[in-house]
Subunit: 399 residues, 2 copies
């Protein structure tokens, strides 16, 4: 049953629940469950990157070392050794992050929900990139904000566009500076410095969501906003892309005064993130495992991205444009103006190829001629086959 066809309850729902409609992500994930589909839609990490043996060994150690603590209720803030590891991970040079700034969350999707809870009232202004992460829009929308889309180009958000009239009364600015979902673009250093300066002014928190930072193909990371303004940035990190997403372990680093509010909101939301999975993550990473593992993930995605770019160059007709990602799991396409990407999706799914249309990633402007291709779970041979089908549909699209 399509959720839009669901019967409506006799009871009164909240305003926010009445606005909920079936999401594009959700409907698309259903399509991609069919094995014959070549799916550029999912946004799932490649299962080839899951360190199964290491996770299993870590789990064995958790059960061997302290099974009672791994099964009992635990502090809302998270497992202290993991919080300390995260703080150390983000401390270097002159930057010190304290474990007391770290809150472990049930995936970084929960960090979005908690930030919405503590910062957003109905109709309060929320600044987002153009386009921005669909999951952030879903989370924040539960708190009924008025979105203001910050002008952005192929390098990301344009700090100079953050004028007083755009930012007046803003409750937060949300950005993914590294290999953004959906565009894969990376914010250049000078823009990072400008955003860090805006964060230091303290008018509203700047949220740096960084799930893809480790997936930098050349291993040459740019400084995080957090490292540029450690007392002012709210940083979201995740183990979903470097270990495994099914564990749902993410985190928020925030100035203490916001951290306390987030902890209270989390207590009301799920008491704490499962302590078993937190301890498994800590056991898996505490002795430097990520230093050897992350390069293998990068190498896989670099190859798949190269295959995708080669296929696009070979097959796409004139008028289609795309970026050249320096990291991450996505390529962002712009179609000729006569093709609506939602209509293209219907046509391509009929030929067993799926992707995500750009539209749901825009808070305001619809972006009807854009689409996201995710290559992380698709082999080079299937990338070629899928791109061929898309290219033929686009070339033959009626004007």
């Amino acid at each position: 049953m399509n959720m839009n066809d669901a019967p409506q309850p006799t009871w009164q729902l909240s305003q926010r629940a009445r606005k909920l409609t079936s999401s594009a992500i959700r409907e698309i994930l259903k399509v991609t469950e069919r094995p014959e589909i070549i799916s550029f839609a999912g946004g799932l990490p490649s299962p080839e990157t899951f360190p199964i043996a290491a996770m299993r060994a870590a789990t064995d150690r958790v059960f061997a070392n302290d099974p009672v603590a791994a099964l009992q209720y635990a502090p809302t803030e998270g497992y202290m050794p993991l919080r300390e590891w995260i703080a150390a991970r983000h401390s270097s040079g002159g930057v010190t992050i304290r474990a007391t700034q770290v809150l472990v969350t049930t995936g970084s999707q929960q960090a979005l929900d908690l930030i919405g809870k503590v910062l957003i009232d109905p109709d309060s202004r929320v600044l987002v990139e153009t386009p921005t992460y669909l999951g952030a829009l879903q989370s924040f929308s539960m708190y009924e904000p008025a979105y203001a889309s910050v002008p952005s180009d192929d390098q990301g958000l344009i700090p100079a566009s953050l004028t007083a009239s755009l930012t007046d009364g803003a409750r937060l600015l949300y950005t993914q500076p590294n290999f953004q979902n959906p565009t894969a673009r990376r914010l250049p250093l000078e823009r990072r410095q400008a955003l860090a300066e805006i964060a230091r002014q303290g008018r509203f928190p700047v949220i740096e969501d960084d799930p893809y930072g480790a997936l930098d193909y050349r291993g040459e990371p740019l400084p995080t906003l957090l490292s540029l303004a450690p007392e002012h940035i709210v940083y979201f990190g995740s183990f979903s892309k470097v270990l495994a997403p099914g564990l749902r372990v993410g985190y928020v680093i925030a100035p203490e005064e916001l951290h306390f509010k987030l902890v209270q909101a989390k207590q009301a939301t799920d008491l704490h993130t499962p302590i078993l999975t937190q301890r498994i993550v800590y056991e898996a990473i505490k002795d430097g495992f990520l230093e050897q593992h992350v390069p293998t993930v990068r190498a896989l995605y670099r190859e798949q991205c190269a295959a995708m770019l080669a296929a696009l160059t070979r097959a796409m007709p004139p008028g289609v444009t795309w970026n050249t990602p320096e990291g991450g799991m996505f390529v962002w396409l712009t179609l000729p103006a006569h093709i609506d990407s939602m209509a293209l999706l219907s046509a391509s799914v009929a030929q067993n190829v799926a992707f995500v249309p750009g539209e749901p990633f825009y808070a305001n402007d619809p972006g009807k001629h854009t689409l996201r291709l995710c290559f992380s779970t698709v082999s080079p041979a299937r990338i070629n086959a899928g791109v061929d089908i898309l290219a033929r549909l686009i070339a033959d699209w009626p004007r």
Copy 2:
């Protein structure tokens, strides 16, 4: 640092976040971390009840059978075999619960948050017992309702008091019919039938939160509200008290039209509950493990409860009253009118005994002379010692 002393951010917080203050549960859990404390406060299951070997074996099977699926993103609704198990568990006689009514949650605390999200607007009326579960008040309060306390006695909520003027415009009624937290009282059959009839009228959903139902000392359960009105009750279940709370696996059974909204709200909240822990729970219980395990949990708590009741009878001065629980983890005390239980807590913690004052469990009326004693993690010898200290403080309390 006490959270009430935390510096306030320069940014603007949401209305709900500004109302957040440090919770009694939270401050009390800090106290109980000190090993010298005899804690009747925590509300934690006894670690003696954790089936460590069974959990470990279940985890091994999960990693051996399908490790990739246990580590990848998973459907928001939950792991289908677990949903089916839950549906079958609640189907018997003429009652059929469908797996499509089941949503797996990150503990049943998350079920409270999701229900708040989809049903509560600011100032909308929410009906709760007197007293009611503190964690429910914390969750619902994020959505800023106006609570109406339903008159209740030592058998629980009084259905005849649900007059039109009390229930007019109510968005939900929240109840724990079995061994309620904090009072341990159990709702009698005829009141269950009356509540089920109110639920069938369909004016507002009746939420049956049932974490303690399995902890019935005599193994003679009363019918759940769900079984009396399966198409109308919203039922919360949990594995926290019968397996282990650190896994954070709970569930909501709801009519499909509400289920769809809860799923969408959950997607925005944490995408899904960790699939690893869901699969561990399923592997642990699928072959009937709970049938042998739950009776051992019941037997332990029955013994500890008997020790607590015997100690109270032996030591407490006249004017102190308490109930005789038929199940669960708590005893509920009423003090003489000259003793405020918050003041008693300060005095008793100074003598290394902790409990939870009744006050935070009341939505409206303060309940200053009541307190909750949890015996689940305390040995009979320490129960005796702790009750002696409390009894002496109460007997000597200045009038």
